[in-house]
Symmetry: D2
């Protein structure tokens, strides 16, 4: 089933951290993101290629975790249509008024309880003098410090059950499953969903703790694989915990590095090379349990914590 | 104006060459493409990431040049709709029966006379044993020889006048102008058009000779910028003429290398990093004559032949 | 203690394989080396940047393993001096007459029994027409296929005891220890030795099986880290076993990929970036057991087989 | 003729700038170097891989240009020997007492008048807490900002006549010519000289203005070619003038980018890949005028200013 294009792309996420200052240091000094406003306990952060105001809201909180994912629709009409479908599916929460940088939005939840906010109107970013890019087809100057991430690339949720959530993204939000894993017993421990040529923007992975609403990781894309190797050096020098990588995923073939930001949330730095899903009738790729057991593309075994670490930690997740 | 997604992507091109054997050597040995069938004077060639049967038809001919560009629509309904619009615009040529690897199609021409073929049905590629990939989300094994191009990326036409052609792609085929150049006198010497998240797939550049129907270049995408630097070494060692680059375009920011294949057609090897147009309401970027005069992104001056070399050569273009 | 420069560089090795045809396929098709002569069961192979005739003699044999390492001295006088020192140290074996591509040489063994051949005269390579490079400061055209390794970079021996062997390289051959590991009990499980600005050319690692004369790996250098990532894809597609990597060593900071060639010998593909030992009074870096336990630079744990796999296999090593 | 190894490596240079603050910004913010002390109008700067205290003294002055090049010898004995030879050649200037970070030294000049300082004793760098590296085989933490240059790589002098200067480096300092250009009339417009495995550390290029003692450029090495592409983006964004590149030199095959620091001195960012001169009997490569006319490796024509811009500017050079 082809995606409908009603969702244009992942817009931003709100990430919670019990270590707001150190987390902010991570996103600005290490990743090279730019602060673009504050509101209460929240700092708005942007990558250099965000045409919108921000792609990350970093909020000081008692726990780590993900509060919300915002998706931009491809028109007002599509926003209305999606809101209606979500409501009909019993997943609607509220219509929200315009907020920082975006217009009126619609809040719903996936079956696992992750908040998903849909919006259409957005305020295009105009760089102030000191951040003005040399090339006018880029919203902001390329940062000469830190990793220099280009964009928020995708969100990987943990879910008690994967399939109902994948079905929600597919049936209600118009996405499609580009790749998935199927165990020998027919269960689906992970699904990768896409809306456009990007081969995935939302991922659901089975939460072995049975918890609901948790985050596996959010990912930021870099320009090149070399940026990820350089990022590993930067993380090493700055005491940022590297969980696994750099390596290449078999699924989606993304080149990756996983680190934990100081608040405990897992962050992926990723490079998809130039891979795109161009076929409008892409057929879901299903990986078997045996194929999955081979590890990553070049043989790296999946690290144990990859199956257990999520945010917020289970004890705190009440 | 947002693209309609009626066109899914550039499918393939038919390229003419007066040096069929040497051109074939270039596309297979140098670029690392794979032969996938022959028909008369034509050889069908594919990149390793083509989900369809081929992306290049290389045809022996008395001249160089581009015979046809095939675009895949995103549904049969869209194919019918586009065919109707082309006919109404007076640009229709013929309905064509199913041919190698694709279903029934519709042939039209842009105002400059370049043939554009629209099709929906396509035969997905199943690699034979010796070309089977290690990872099942890839159509064919990554080639260990030559440049190892991933996909046919875009086509850059020369046109006597740019604007009518851009309007055709926009109004008839549902594309949108992502970037363009505007001279001080208001004329438009070049337009870059896109249909999806790819920031361009068709480009029109003013033909200073006033000829019609000519080709500036076709481009193949690589996985990384390093592949393009390595490609430059491979071309150097094998006597393939390098016209200009490697360098980074200011417009579209593509990292590029331009070479001439032995038949005389200009071929671009390009890497877009991970840049995508995600905004459904992208606003056309217009570069002024003055901005353009600065040369490429890092200051390389545009080489003279870039404005004069097209295929077929003017004398032969009758 | 500074190296004496009496040894100019690692010249070539003779590698044994019970699978000569498949091993040859690995070194030519996968690594991109060039055959340059045969003699009996041996094939002479060269990287594109070898100024000498070859850097690898691949010899069909009943087992895998390393028969010999040849080191070029920096003058005839130095060859004579080293031969004398080796003889005085009771490690001399024989004076050998001129052989393929090299002049008269002196054969000795390190205390663990690895054969080391010293030579001065060498025949500079003149590429035949079809391998002539485009740039005259390079011995042979850059290969457009396979990994395209630049040079034989280093040899890593297994030894029952590391220190006597390191002392031999130091005291007899004029090398120096650039880095080493020291266990908490004062024992030395590994030493990296160098002769010039290259930070290592010979390495001794403790053989946990207590065997003598075995090989841990030989390494070939590539131009860039990207070549190693591409190599991983090539190995994946061609069924070459990847043991570990790509990753960055903490010791020596080399970017690496370990694979097994079809004969069973471990081969490292490595990129030292542009690191050199420039200080003539470099002080040996000693890593503690605790530092070593942290794994590789970016946290990859050292894989179990890295401590156990050597060639020839122990059972065969009689 | 083989180099003698009496010179171990290029140690540091003193660069003059009429724009000390902006030049300092360039070397620290753009290149990522670290300040390590001040003295009067001079700032001492180091790359992250300098084992010595610094590799650049940046001195405010009425003009741009190079005041001095310091070369480290490989022993005290070699320092004495070289000093004696320089004195006998009539090129001696003075014995200098120990100064910042280095022991007693000997000052001489090449025939064109460039000051060359020879020293042996040096103070090894111990990083303060905040700059301590994660890996103990590296002097200082890898900088997460700017280009992150690894080392001062080479100095390229302009000289009224090339040959007498090359002869001085060869006969007095024990270097060797690794590559050179010879015009059809037998004159030598450029020579590249080396002392060790690095294929060049000092270069002489003919000064078309006939001036003496001027600088063509100093060069800093990066880890990878990708760092140079990233550097081009950083320079573009920060208004640093890019003169030419990135591209690959035919001579020495170095991947390069040339920029002007704000004081007007030309700075090369370079990556030699992993190329080394290993042969102790390397034969000088001589490029003909015709070969040179082909431009750089991949065909880039040498830019006009490359032959005319030197520092200090001619008018100021009195």
């Amino acid at each position: 089933m082809a995606p409908t294009h009603e969702i244009a792309h992942l817009g931003h996420v709100e990430l919670l951290t019990p270590e707001p200052e150190r987390s902010l240091w991570f996103f600005t000094d290490i990743l090279g993101m730019t602060e673009n406003g504050r509101d209460g306990d929240s700092v708005y952060l942007r990558t250099y290629d965000d045409y919108e105001q921000y792609s990350l809201i970093l909020t000081g909180h008692e726990t780590s975790g993900l509060r919300r994912t915002a998706l931009r629709t491809s028109s007002q009409e599509n926003l209305d249509r999606l809101a209606k479908r979500a409501e009909q599916a019993g997943r609607g929460v509220a219509r929200l008024p315009a907020a920082a940088g975006i217009g009126p939005s619609y809040l719903c939840t996936d079956p696992d309880g992750h908040e998903i906010q849909l919006y259409w109107e957005t305020e295009w970013y105009q760089a102030p003098e000191e951040l003005r890019p040399a090339l006018k087809n880029q919203p902001q100057a390329f940062p000469g410090h830190g990793v220099g991430v280009r964009r928020l690339d995708h969100v990987n949720y943990l879910a008690a059950e994967v399939e109902p959530n994948g079905a929600f993204i597919r049936d209600v939000l118009g996405g499609a499953v580009s790749e998935q894993i199927m165990n020998d017993d027919g269960s689906i421990p992970a699904q990768w969903l896409h809306f456009t040529n990007k081969s995935y923007e939302l991922v659901y992975t089975s939460d072995w703790t049975g918890s609901r609403g948790r985050l596996h990781h959010i990912a930021f894309a870099t320009n090149a694989r070399e940026d990820i190797l350089r990022a590993a050096d930067i993380c090493l020098e700055n005491g940022v915990f590297i969980e696994t990588g750099p390596h290449k995923h078999a699924i989606q073939q993304t080149f990756f590095l996983y680190v934990y930001e100081p608040g405990g949330n897992r962050i992926e730095l990723c490079n998809p090379l130039t891979r795109l899903i161009l076929a409008p009738d892409w057929k879901t790729i299903t990986w078997t349990q045996g194929e999955r057991a081979k590890g990553q593309a070049w043989g790296l075994k999946t690290i144990e914590s990859f199956h257990t670490h999520g945010t917020p930690p289970v004890a705190a997740n009440t």
